[in-house]
């Protein structure tokens, strides 16, 4: 190879200034090079890249999921102390206990779901909360994002941070705060109502208001978070599109309708799908704030599953509920993506 660049192979070339440190670095570099040469490029590298993720996924998610699916065809009849499997090699002795005593019931659990009033109630509650909460939250988040994107607005950083800060609150912690804020006797919300002369509201004792309280809590925590994502989407819309629309004589609303919305669609879809899944999985808020009451008006599907599993020991039934739940949410997400996405 001919050389047209300086090639410093004079002896003593390493007396260059600062070379001591760089030589140390070099030694490290060469060692690494040697190492990467020794390690062969095994087969398709892609598998190496997904291997750690996939192994953990299989071990800790796929296995329990499969177990859940399996359990959903059984009735849990108590803890088993029996050995399920054992190995005896004299000095080496191994046994694997059977986890539970299960009785096969086929699709019995699934059939039971159909006639389970509380399941439908919890399904209804969840859908009710979802149908109000997600649109309100996304609407608010979008409106706030647009406001914060306005060129004339000052203190943007402050507003953005202030509005998004609720997401930093721990889920159990903030639920407790809402429990107290909406307290009928001494809560701040009723106090605020009193100052404007309104009657206090029995937030947590009325079906209507208890659901609204949950909605308020969830909306409070996640609006800012979604706003930030939408804001990012807005900032990515090319300014020329607005200028073109302006020249075409579009009003503010028309600009929103014909430029902002279509351009924002992928981000909006992302936010809607994630929020829907999130709200579907609502658990901690009703668990802490209303405990599912009053009269089961705020018990969510996940909370019901939890109750079946942890309070009534119906592990098999709870598993079947989970399977149904996952199926429903998946279908809804896919529908949302189909409707919202172009492909």
């Amino acid at each position: 190879m001919s050389t047209w660049l300086p090639n410093d192979d004079r002896p003593g070339a390493d007396s260059d200034a600062g070379s001591l440190r760089s030589r140390a670095w070099d030694r490290f570099r060469f060692a690494r090079q040697t190492y990467s040469r020794v390690v062969p490029e095994v087969g398709p590298v892609a598998y190496l890249f997904i291997a750690p993720f996939f192994i953990l996924f299989t071990l800790f998610l796929a296995f329990p999921i499969a177990y859940t699916l399996y359990l959903s065809f059984f009735r849990y009849e108590g803890v088993s102390g029996d050995r399920w499997f054992w190995v005896d090699l004299g000095p080496i002795f191994v046994e694997v206990p059977q986890i539970a005593e299960l009785q096969f019931v086929g699709f019995g659990n699934y059939v039971r779901i159909l006639g389970d009033g509380l399941f439908w109630q919890s399904m209804f509650n969840t859908t009710y909360i979802l149908a109000i909460q997600v649109p309100i939250m996304i609407g608010l988040a979008l409106a706030l994002a647009i406001a914060l994107n306005a060129s004339f607005l000052r203190f943007k950083g402050f507003f953005r941070t202030a509005i998004a800060i609720p997401v930093s609150a721990n889920i159990v912690a903030y639920s407790t705060v809402f429990l107290l804020l909406f307290n009928e006797q001494f809560g701040l919300v009723n106090y605020a109502l009193a100052t404007i002369g309104a009657e206090p509201i029995a937030w947590l004792r009325s079906e209507f208001w208890a659901r609204k309280t949950i909605i308020a809590a969830v909306t409070w925590r996640w609006t800012g978070y979604n706003m930030i994502i939408l804001l990012a989407g807005l900032q990515n819309i090319p300014q020329q599109l607005y200028e073109a629309a302006e020249i075409d004589g579009a009003s503010r609303i028309e600009k929103f309708r014909y430029v902002t919305l279509p351009q924002l669609k992928p981000v909006l879809l992302f936010v809607v799908v994630l929020s829907t899944i999130g709200t579907f999985k609502l658990f901690a808020e009703p668990y802490v704030i209303t405990g599912g009451g009053p009269t089961n008006a705020t018990i969510t599907i996940v909370q019901y599953i939890y109750r079946e599993a942890f309070q009534s020991w119906n592990l098999g039934y709870a598993s079947a509920l989970t399977v149904i739940f996952v199926a429903i949410v998946s279908v809804i997400s896919v529908i949302q993506i189909r409707i919202g996405g172009d492909n």
């Binding site: 997904i50 800060i165 990012a232 996940v302 739940f325």
Partner: protein
Amino acid sequence: MREQRRKDAVWRFLTYTFVLTATVVMLVPLYWMVVAASLPQELFIEFPPRLYPGTSFFENFTALQERANFVRSIGNSVFIAVVYTVISILLCSMAGFAFAKYEFRFKEPIFYVILATLVLPIQLLVIPLFLMMSQIGWTDTFRAIILPWLANPIGIFLMRQNMQSIPDALLESARMDGATEFQLFYRIALPAMRSSVAALAIILFLFQWDLFLYPLVILEDAANYTIPVALAGLEGTQRVYYDQIMVATSLAIIPLAILFLFLQKQFVSGILAGSLKE
């Protein structure tokens, strides 16, 4: 023209009003939380409620520390969340890189199976997971809290979407420069994804931060409790010490708020590449 200017002024006013109202609504619960944390229990249930801080914050804090070493719990939560976030980012971006930039068999099905677990309520995984953890003797360890959720479906989704936006030429160029496939990943792809990584960091941190039932079941020693577990412990059958709980909640907000403040900008730009690339 004049008409237009007046309209603009009205619009401006409405925007400010809206943003200010939202800001107030968002901050009031937090403000009240801090006020409540600083009041003695008796004043707590007064009506009308006190609207300005009292002086009992440190008393309440001391009482809280005595009942449950809450500072320690915050430390535990931060430690767990940080370790989890770092490792999970690495795994998710490695896998996301493979899904974005390589072809292999069953690529699509595997990806969608992983993505589908997004809708899973993790509450139900608690029992089988606990079972596994106790079989291998990992109960009451942080690794038992961290490990199962490292393979995070949102993480792989986001990283795949974002990695797709890395130009192939960039990787090819590095290949010709003599980079190994792994070097491609950690010297080129990962650094180029800095803002996505920041966005993912927030998402992952938040996920781990909110885990409640699972750590409750796994952790035994009070010294190992995370924030939600410690909070749950504060609510017994007897009277609930809300003043202490408010101190706890006030303190618990700090770590995530700091993280959020630092990474907010990156969060904005980072989460986006993923959603736009659908």
